[in-house]
Symmetry: none
Subunit: 202 residues, 4 copies
């Protein structure tokens, strides 16, 4: 997924700088109006450079979405993978993972919403990769749970719980019109953890 967005610019530092600007602007604009309603001109303008310059750093409008997805990957998937891959799996560790995940979701709310809404706007291959990433996450989380499976839950049930946890993280983003009124992030996280513990542990 990394490096999918080619540019004609050689100065890599500049590329990174500009890409970050584009991502910031794009997230805020896509969030407000959606991908299709946002014009490339708007993106360029808000990012502080000309439309011509924008196209020095992307090839097609879709690339802007890819940049946003790249950014989610870096902010969410990579840290989570890193966290889940190392160390021994204990109840405590599982709780930490869930905690971290919810915290990360809180940080990338806008991106998650965009992910949910604009997945269709992306090329088939890209979409497949994004879903693969998500599948990987489910599997990893599932594995962690399976290793601390006190109650001898079936694999089926554990997989479902893993899915539920991930969706609960997303839900904090896409249902914020409802949830953020009633709960702080910590409240939300703690309640969900309590509820999960009743399913997971005796």
């Amino acid at each position: 997924m990394k490096g999918k967005v080619n540019t004609s610019i050689k100065d890599l530092k500049l590329v990174k700088e500009r890409h970050e600007a584009i991502i910031d602007v794009a997230i805020s604009l896509f969030q407000k109006k959606g991908f299709h309603q946002t014009t490339t001109r708007e993106i360029a303008q808000h990012a502080g450079f000309s439309i011509g310059t924008l196209y020095e750093y992307i090839r097609k409008k879709e690339d802007v979405l890819l940049l946003v997805y790249d950014s989610i990957e870096q902010k969410v998937y990579s840290p989570l993978q890193a966290l889940m891959k190392k160390g021994i799996y204990t109840k405590r560790k599982l709780i930490t993972i869930i905690d971290t995940y919810f915290q990360l979701m809180d940080q990338v709310q806008e991106e998650v919403i965009i992910l949910y809404q604009e997945l269709k706007s992306v090329s088939d291959e890209m979409r497949y990769q994004i879903l693969q990433k998500e599948r990987g996450l489910v599997k990893m989380l599932s594995n962690v749970i399976k290793q601390v499976n006190e109650k001898q839950l079936t694999d089926e049930k554990i997989d479902l719980i893993a899915n539920n946890i991930l969706v609960q993280g997303h839900m904090w983003c896409f249902r914020r019109w409802n949830l953020h009124k009633q709960y702080t992030r910590t409240q939300f996280t703690n309640l969900q953890k309590e509820l999960l513990q009743e399913q997971l542990f005796t």
Copy 2:
């Protein structure tokens, strides 16, 4: 929300007929390509009439989305409201409600996905109404749970469970690329119900 889509056609039966055709086509096309990628011409063509005729039955492209939402309302919200409003609330009844809800979600998968993806494409007022509907559903479900609250769960926790249940229904739709491979609807429903019972009942 009902009747928001005006027409220049006088024959009401015909209007209903055509609207249904439009909804069917729209769901399948929006599902495949999204609202913005789908042209009005395509909708007309697939529905079997000309672009001119399409515009005899809608006023603007957005109206097609409204038709789809109307349809969800009729298929989901109305039945659920009816179900939840009458009768006494027992554990058994709660289970029935959840069952029914999951079953309904299974029937309107495409619509739910569209709802998630195209909410942004709708006018502010419309969007508010749709979210209001959803808020109402949360509240209703919450109330039912509160009436069979064996474990003396706090209101906060119950509200969260209600949200979780509703999102689990949606999840069956928007995560089908993952879930439908592993579970049949009945399996999914039963597992979720089992998991919920551990949270709700002793």
Copy 3:
């Protein structure tokens, strides 16, 4: 010009009735929004019958304009021609003609405005005929003046005065946003007549 608007209806009385309805509606609508902004549907609707029925009494939208022009002809040109053709020409008679003309213009204000604004929307041949009518009027008025030419004005000057008079009549219509505030029709007519007399008579 007469009878240019063919219909598929045999009942001539009905045709006349419907045509009059169409003319009334058209004048009011064209006046308000112009020919092109007015749709045939609107005309039919305001006239109290269906679009299908409208097209039983006209062949094309342009026909509606022709009907309006026919109506002007009947209300203005015919009476004026009749008046100017008969009798002997005296100062008194000239004054009467001018008086009558201004009075007629007052009665067909809307039609005149439409004439000025929509002449371009009419077929070349039709436009030619309308201008011919107007040329005829100039010539007739010119002739009358020439017969009471006390001051031995040149033909050139008399022709110009004739044109001026006719335009002054139109002006009462198309400059009413200015003139009708300041003058009643009688005041306007009398002042113009006074001014003309200084040009025509010693």
Copy 4:
């Protein structure tokens, strides 16, 4: 009225250039076929650029009309206002003003015809402004006449004469199918001046 037509182009010189091209083309096309019959594509094509480029220099089709009106203002109203505002008012000066006015009208014939025919196609506010401009002109001309009022004509009569003069200027444009055959501009002007002098002076 000035500067009402916004642009997304930054190079002001280019904007002026293109606007002039648009005005030229528009006058000729509107003249031939009217505003509504003329398509934006035709305008672009005749102006020598693409439809996309046209829309870089206007926002809506109506803007093309505004450009034409702006142009009339610059060519007619501004010079006339300048002329009338300065200097002492004498018979001679009045004659000069009338002369200039008729000369200007001769130069903007097409524009005047468009003004007469497409006033309805313009937004209410714009129309009001255009009529205000015309009212201002009447008042100015009226004032000049009042200052050289040898014959002690009433204000009412003078106002009417002012209106007549202005309309006579327009008439040279919109009745050219008749007048230009019979008179050169100088003849027309001189005759009208002679006629006016009989009304104004002893």
